[in-house]
Each structure stands twice: as structure tokens, then as C-alpha cells.
């Protein structure tokens, strides 16, 4: 029997089901794991995504897209393939796609994170024969500290800046990371100001039932108040006139890449907070093991390392050459603000 999912020039293709998963070229039917730009593209005739993803996709791709929502765990059958979506713990609405056909089960996980957080449904291990996994942080150096420790670090940094009358500017991707950071901030320190590119996504999260602290725009914040403020901005705002107006500010970037000094120095920020929406090395291996899959297909990230390691521990591992990771927030190691998705997030503060 051939593979249930193969790579075509349009994207990952479910052969018996005749549909695509996160295709990068326009297709008839697309199942979307989550709404980051490299997974959810414009131009498909029909979209299927988790219920929680529907509004985000509409806000990013247009209200007029033809989209169906599916609750986590709900099952539909399409061309003889039973499809269900299961939380991936990456961002609000992110899902793994489970496909069952004639007793064979494949799961395409998109991007995922195994540590639960307050802004999205926690990752769920789904038993399967074949697991399609990302490998963004697929090296043993990548091991995350518990997120509470990172939040404590961020709050300490913010408090010290506030005490010294200095604005804290924290760069975080507008969709997902920014809201996760928000959920961990200590609001007793000062006001939280959001860039115009971040605020619309906060709204989507709140509408999706995620509790976030009060946020405001720069235009709603007094000059003295700004000195105690934490500003959440997309990475594209680094070094811009928008940011420079804060005068003597300290800046930081929240990303898994900040684990390495080189990456932080390339960014040119004062502080790097290691906070990722992707699984770390133990997370990836634990997630793969929990699926019970004998066959693993590795997509974007440290593909050769991951494939070699999985083969070494006795799994049947191979790679799919995809176009994921080019635009996604963290999947670009280049870590430069002028590149990638960041550009699209650029928006002037109203």
C-alpha cells in the first residue's frame, strides 16, 4: 500500500481523501492546521480548520473565504477518509490532522508545543501508524525552562526598567507569542501597551474566550505612564521610528532562538527571553513516542538530524520537503526583523 500522504508541488496531499494539508499553492480542498502565514495561505477554494481557527483565518485571509469549522475530536468522513482535528498546543486554534483510512492512521501535526499554556488548548497525543512532525528545534541543545521561570524573568526585567523610568519594549510575534507573553505578565508593574499589529489579534483571542490582561495603544497612554510601560511589538518594529520615540528604552525579544547568544547578538537586543511555541528536543521526542507511530515523516527544521536520530532509535523515519518554516515566526533561524512574516505584520499604530 502506498503512503496515505505524499508531497506534491502544491503541498502535502492525502491520496485517498483527495485533499491537501497546509498547501502552499492554491488547491480545491485544504485542511489548515493553524493560521500562521506559511501554513495558511490565500487562494484555496475550500478550507477546513478547527472551530477556534475559523475567525483567525477569516481575519487574516478575508471574511469571504469558504471555510468549515470542526470541533476538536469531531469526526467527518471525506472520500472514505475519517478526518478529525486534535489540539497541537502551538497557537489558538492549532490542530493536528488525524486521517484514518481502511484501518491505517496518519497524523499531520503542523507546528506543535507540548507544554500547556493559558492561551490555547493543550497538545494531545494521538495514537497513529505514521506521524508527520516538525523539527524546528530538533537539536539536543534546545531544552526549554518551564515557562513560569521565563515569565518571572520578563517581569523582573520589566520591573527594573520601570523602577528606573525606562520603557520596556518586548518584541514578540503578533499572533500567538504576543498573547502568550500577555498571559504571563504581572500587571501590577505598569501598563501594557500593544503595537497596532498586535492588538487586533488580542481581540480575536479574547473573542475566542482567552482571558488576557488589559492592553492599550500608545495613543491612549500618557508620557509619564509610558516610562513604566511594557510595550509589545512585532519584531519588524525593532529600530523603527515607532520604537525610537520611546527614548531611553530597553528592548528584548521573546523566541526559542534566543537560547543562543549568537542569535540574540544578531538581533541587537538587550535581552533575549527563551520562549517558544514549538516543542524543544525532549518535547519532540516525547511527542513522537507518545503517538506509538512506527513511521515518522519529518518536515521543516533540523530534518537530517531528526531523521538520523529517529532511525537510530529504531523508527522508520524519512523527510518531506515542504515550504513550511519560511515565513513562520520562529521557523526562520535568520532572525532578522526585516525578513519574513514580520513584514506582513507591520502596521502603524492607530
Amino acid at each position: 500500500m502506498g503512503d496515505m500522504v505524499v508531497v506534491r508541488k502544491e503541498g502535502l496531499y492525502c491520496v485517498p481523501g483527495d485533499f491537501y494539508i497546509d498547501p502552499w499553492r492554491p488547491v480545491d480542498r485544504a485542511v489548515i492546521t493553524h493560521a500562521h502565514g506559511d501554513h495558511a495561505r490565500w487562494g484555496h477554494r475550500h478550507y477546513l480548520a478547527s472551530d477556534a481557527s475559523v475567525n483567525i483565518l477569516k481575519s487574516r485571509l478575508g471574511a469571504d473565504i469558504n471555510i468549515d469549522g470542526l470541533a476538536y475530536g469531531e469526526r467527518i468522513v471525506h472520500n472514505g477518509v475519517a478526518i478529525s482535528l486534535h489540539p497541537a498546543g502551538h497557537v489558538l486554534g492549532s490542530a493536528q490532522v488525524r486521517m484514518e483510512h481502511e484501518g491505517e492512521i496518519w497524523v499531520a501535526s503542523g507546528d506543535y508545543k507540548v507544554e500547556p499554556d493559558k492561551t490555547c488548548a493543550p497538545f494531545e497525543a494521538v495514537r497513529c501508524h505514521t506521524f508527520i512532525t516538525e523539527s524546528t528545534f530538533g537539536l539536543p541543545i534546545y531544552r526549554w525552562d518551564p515557562q513560569q521561570e521565563v515569565f518571572d524573568d520578563i517581569n523582573r526585567w520589566w520591573r527594573r526598567n520601570a523602577d528606573e523610568g525606562r520603557t520596556s519594549v518586548l518584541y514578540a510575534y503578533a499572533f500567538g507569542k504576543a498573547q502568550r507573553v500577555l498571559s504571563g505578565l504581572d500587571t501590577s508593574i505598569g501598563p501594557i501597551v500593544c503595537h497596532g499589529a498586535v492588538e487586533p489579534l488580542n481581540r480575536v483571542y479574547r473573542e475566542g474566550g482567552v482571558e488576557l490582561p488589559h492592553t492599550q495603544l500608545v495613543s491612549e497612554t500618557g508620557k509619564d505612564e509610558m516610562k513604566r510601560a511594557l510595550v509589545l511589538a512585532p519584531p519588524s518594529a525593532a529600530g523603527s521610528t515607532w520604537t525610537r520615540r520611546f527614548g531611553d528604552y530597553s528592548d528584548a525579544f521573546a523566541s526559542g532562538w534566543m537560547l543562543l547568544r549568537g542569535a540574540r547578538r544578531r538581533r541587537g537586543v538587550d535581552r533575549g527571553f527563551v520562549l517558544s511555541d514549538h516543542a524543544d528536543w525532549p518535547g519532540l521526542l516525547g511527542a513522537i513516542e507518545a503517538t506509538g507511530a512506527q513511521q515518522v515523516v519529518v518536515t521543516h527544521g533540523s530534518i537530517p538530524v531528526m531523521v538520523r536520530w529517529l532511525c537510530q532509535i529504531g523508527l522508520d523515519a524519512k523527510a518531506f520537503d515542504t515550504e513550511y518554516g519560511d515565513e513562520d515566526d520562529e521557523a526562520t533561524g535568520s532572525a532578522t526583523p526585516e525578513e519574513g512574516e514580520a513584514k506582513k505584520e507591520e502596521a502603524k499604530d492607530a
Binding site: L139, P140, G262, D270, S302, V305
Partner: protein, 549 residues
């Protein structure tokens, strides 16, 4: 280690000078003087010899982490730094200790040097068990000998001056030789460093040199410097900048990197000078004639562990003196340049030894005439000219507050070369392809091929590096370990300072200080320069005279 790790983090985590200064002052005020002494040593650029060979460190870390060697190598390639890689792969610490930096250096790291591998392994495991990842990173850096901190020596000097409430210049003076490594930093030494100014300042100096006065690069037209008569003009030599100190009946030769290099130059160690003399100049190899031997010959001397009589006879060293900083135990640095020069001339004449030559003055009537003389630099075996204000005092470091020295260098050689191999950089440039090998064309017709002749790392902006990096990834032909060979598509203008025949290099020539001047997008690969063009440069090069057989 905790305090030092905290200081390191604070220095590493801000780009603002005043915050770095604040962190330094705070540390020096609170830590015990024996720890501060070691911190000064490292912050001022001290580089101890490696206590444990890298391979042993790496193997121990791999074993302790229970990691496959290939996974370690992949990780190292992504991180670009051994200490940082090790810090990130080790399992979580089992306990926490707070042992001071001095104890770490003297009682823990010191005994590892030259110890039995089994003992080293056991100790490394034990120490790793009690350190957080940041402390482990520092610990491995301190062991490995390649420790650098993102702080200038000047800033360290300022911080010490602030807590000692003395002039920063005095601190700079006291700091001379601190990083030499032959003297163990001690609490007493640190307290002396930050003590109030004393009458005995000079006596306390021992064999220490003065802070070197450094020249600025002259970019514009020298005629803008005013009357030529206000300037003392000399040739700019390509040797080792050094101070020869005579105190206590003994000579000390210090390089500009503040390394004591007396033993490497016995002809200068044995030179008899009047007591209390400090001469600033250039160490050169001088085999006779009017021009010094090329730097390559000096390298032959530096590279040797033992100096045979044969080598000393073939490649004799001289100190080309160009300034006098101390005479009869008196600090002359506040005297104007021309007065120091007059005293220097008297001294050199009086000593009358071939190992002590005076740097001749270059005279011309007009700036234009001087420019013509400068054009002869290559034939004279020099890099250009030095312009020293006649009234300049001898300053500290690269400053202009008490007078100015300009270096007026000749333009570098330049050729258009093709990038053929690339390798990732380290540190800030980890996982980006930043180290390149360049080639020029050799042969005709079908036999025409690219021969590598130089490696260069610097000269591109971050944005250019990213573009080149992307092209390298797209045009890779083969990978050998970390090195990629690429399809030749990119031409760069490469600058270099000197060129010499070298049987050790594939192209048969070696260039000195190669660096990228600019990317030549306008130039097709086929039109890059040829090996013949490069060899043609040998004609005008002084190195021609010393071709090896």
C-alpha cells in the same frame, strides 16, 4: 562564580555603555578583592593558557550528557561555540554552590592543567553538577582560555577609576602588564590597583611599560592638517610595536598586546641602556641595507619555540626607536614630541649599537612632495607614513586630547577574486556562512581553472552576509564537514597588504591581511583576475627580494 556570572550577564545583556559601567562598578565594590583581581584580569583581556585540551572537555561533556558524538557535532555547528554548546547539552545541575572566582581559578581550574585525563574528567563532572548553565558556560570558557567579554578595557579602567577615586590614566598605567599571565592576580594587587595615588607610584612600576599611544587612520587630505612644519614625519613600519623598558638593571620588552616578549628577542634583551629608560618603537628584522626584511621573516622568529644561533644570525632583530617615554627614571610623556625626539636621538647615538636604530625623519618641502615620497613606500618596505604633531604629548591609547598621531597608509593591493568555498563563522556569526576562500584564474582555454589563494572573513555588512549566505546555500556543490564548495558565481574585490611567494600555498603565493573590500555584482566570474596578475604584484613588492628557493 555566581557574582561573576551575574556581572557577565549584565555586561552581555545591554549595549548601553552607562549600564555596563554601572554593572562593573557595582561588581568591583561588592566582590572580595581576590575575586575582583581575577575579574580585572579577564575583563582587561587576559588570556590564560588553555587548562584542559578542547578534545578532552568535549569528550567529557559528551559522556556526561550521554549524547552521540554526531549529535554533539551537529549541535556545535548550530551554536558555533564549544563552551556554549557544552553548557546547553549537560543535564540539569544537582546542587548549587557559591565558590568565588579566585578559588575557581586557583584551586579548581589551576590543578586541572596537565593533570591526568581521568582526574580531569571526574572533576569536570563534579563541577558541572553544581553550576547553572550560564555558570557552566563561563567555567568552560575560563578553562578553555578563549574567554572574551563585551566590554572595552577603557570601560574597565573607568569603572576602577570611579571606585578608586583616582584619575583613569593612573589606573591605565597601573593596569599595564596586568594581563601578562605570568603574575597571578592577587587581592593585594587589586587593592594596589585601586589605592590612592602615592609618592612611590614610579617605584611600584617595576618592569611595566606605559600605555601605548595609538595613531588614527588619516582619511582625508593631509594638506588639511595645516603647515607641514608642524608635523614630524616618519615611515610606518610593519613589525611588532613594542616598548623596551630598562629598570632595575634589566630589560623588559613589551608588545602592544601587553605580552612580555623579551625572551623571543635576545639581541634586545641584552642591549645595555641607561637605568630608567623606556623606548617606544618597532621590532623588525633587519638583514642589512636600507629596508627592513618583510614581516614574513619576523613571523619565522615569532613562530619558533627555540631560537637557534643560525636563525639569530640569519634573521637579526632590531628595535627601530621612534619615541622616548622615560629617561633617568623620569616620565617624559608630557613633553612635546620634538623634545622627546631630540632626547631620543641623543640616547640612540650614545648607545651606539646596531640593534637600536632610530626611525629616520622624512623631510619634504610641501605636502605634495611628501605624497610623492609616500608613493615609494612599497619599495622601501613600509606601509606608508606616520604624521606626529610636533607638539603632541604621548597620550594614552587611541586618543587626541593631548596631541595626535596619524597613520597615512598606502592603499592596499586589490584584486577581483571568486568565492569558491565557504564555512560558517562562530559566535555572532554562528550558522551563517561568513568565512570564505577566494580563487583567481590560472591557465588558458580548457585548462583554465580557479586556484584558491586567500581566506577572508571581514569586510561585509550584516545584510551583505545574509545575501551571500543565501547564495552559498543555493549554489552548494559539495559539503566536506562544515565546508561547502559552491558553484563560482560571486566576485569580490579583495584587498591585502603584502604578497610573497609561498611554496606552502596551492597558488604558490601568500597574501597578508586579506579582507573583502566590496562585492562585485557587476563583474562576471570569467572576468575575475588571474594568478599572473597576482604574481605581477610581486614585482613591486619588497618580498620579491627574499623569495625562498
Amino acid at each position: 562564580m555566581r557574582e561573576f556570572a551575574q556581572l557577565y550577564a549584565e555586561l552581555d545583556e545591554t549595549t548601553a555603555t552607562n549600564r555596563k559601567l554601572e554593572a562593573l562598578q557595582n561588581y568591583f565594590e561588592h566582590t572580595a578583592p581576590e575575586n575582583a583581581a581575577w575579574a580585572v584580569y579577564f575583563l582587561a583581556g587576559g588570556k590564560p593558557r588553555q587548562a584542559v585540551p578542547t578534545k578532552l572537555l568535549r569528550d567529557a561533556a559528551i559522556e556526561y550528557a550521554g549524547l552521540d558524538e554526531w549529535l554533539y557535532e551537529e549541535s556545535h555547528a548550530a551554536v558555533g561555540d564549544t563552551a556554549e554548546t557544552i553548557a546547553h547539552i549537560l543535564p540539569a545541575p544537582k546542587r548549587h554552590s557559591d565558590v568565588g572566582l579566585a578559588v575557581w581559578m586557583e584551586e579548581r581550574i589551576g590543578p586541572l592543567r596537565g593533570a591526568d585525563p581521568g582526574f580531569i574528567r571526574e572533576k569536570l563532572f563534579e563541577y558541572w553538577d553544581e553550576l547553572t548553565w550560564r555558570e557552566r558556560f563561563l567555567f568552560v570558557k575560563l578553562i578553555g582560555g578563549g574567554f572574551r567579554v563585551g566590554v572595552s578595557k577603557l570601560l574597565v579602567t573607568r569603572a576602577l577609576a570611579a571606585i578608586a577615586a583616582v584619575d583613569a590614566k593612573l589606573i591605565a598605567q597601573r593596569l599595564m602588564g596586568w594581563t601578562d599571565g605570568r603574575v597571578r592576580p592577587t587581592a593585594a594587587g587589586f587593592l594596589q590597583l585601586i589605592a590612592a595615588q602615592s609618592e612611590d607610584e614610579h617605584k611600584l612600576r617595576g618592569g611595566q611599560p606605559y600605555p601605548f599611544f595609538l595613531a588614527h587612520q588619516l582619511q582625508g587630505d593631509p594638506a588639511d592638517l595645516g603647515a607641514l612644519s608642524d608635523w614630524q614625519v616618519e615611515w610606518k613600519y610593519d613589525g611588532i610595536r613594542a616598548q623596551l623598558v630598562r629598570r632595575g638593571g634589566q630589560n623588559y620588552l613589551w608588545s602592544r598586546g601587553e605580552d612580555l616578549i623579551t625572551e623571543r628577542f635576545p639581541e634586545l634583551a641584552g642591549l645595555t641602556l641607561p637605568e630608567g629608560t623606556v623606548v617606544d618603537g618597532e621590532v623588525l628584522i633587519w638583514t642589512g641595507g636600507d629596508a627592513p626584511a618583510p614581516f614574513a621573516d619576523l613571523q619565522k622568529r615569532i613562530g619558533r619555540k627555540t631560537l637557534s644561533n643560525k636563525l639569530l644570525a640569519e634573521l637579526p632583530a632590531v628595535l627601530l626607536a621612534y619615541d622616548l617615554l622615560e629617561l633617568d627614571g623620569v616620565d617624559l610623556r608630557a613633553l612635546p614630541q620634538h623634545e622627546r625626539r631630540a632626547l631620543l636621538e641623543t640616547l640612540v647615538t650614545g648607545v651606539a649599537k646596531p640593534q637600536l636604530r632610530i626611525s629616520p625623519l622624512v623631510t619634504a618641502d610641501t605636502w605634495e612632495d611628501l605624497g610623492k615620497l609616500r608613493a615609494e613606500s612599497r619599495a622601501r618596505g613600509v606601509e606608508g607614513m606616520m604624521l606626529k604633531a610636533r607638539n603632541a604629548q604621548y597620550g594614552v591609547g587611541r586618543t587626541k586630547d593631548v596631541g595626535t598621531w596619524w597613520k597615512w597608509k598606502i592603499d592596499p593591493y586589490a584584486v577581483d577574486a571568486v568565492l569558491i568555498y565557504a564555512q560558517p563563522g562562530s559566535g555572532r556569526r554562528a550558522s551563517l556562512y561568513t568565512d570564505y576562500t577566494f580563487a583567481v584564474w590560472d591557465g588558458e582555454g580548457d585548462a583554465r581553472r580557479l586556484v584558491p589563494f586567500a581566506k577572508a572573513y571581514s569586510g561585509l555588512t550584516d545584510a551583505e552576509i545574509r545575501q551571500v549566505d543565501a547564495t552559498i546555500r543555493k549554489t552548494t556543490v559539495e559539503k566536506f564537514g562544515p565546508v561547502r564548495s559552491v558553484k563560482p558565481t560571486m566576485v569580490f574585490e579583495l584587498g591585502f597588504e603584502g604578497i610573497a611567494l609561498s611554496p606552502r600555498h596551492k597558488a604558490g603565493i601568500a597574501v597578508r591581511f586579506p579582507r573583502i573590500l566590496r562585492r562585485r555584482d557587476d563583474k562576471p566570474v570569467e572576468e575575475a583576475d588571474t594568478l599572473d596578475t597576482l604574481k605581477g604584484l610581486l614585482e613591486g613588492s619588497p618580498d620579491k627580494a627574499t623569495e625562498s628557493p
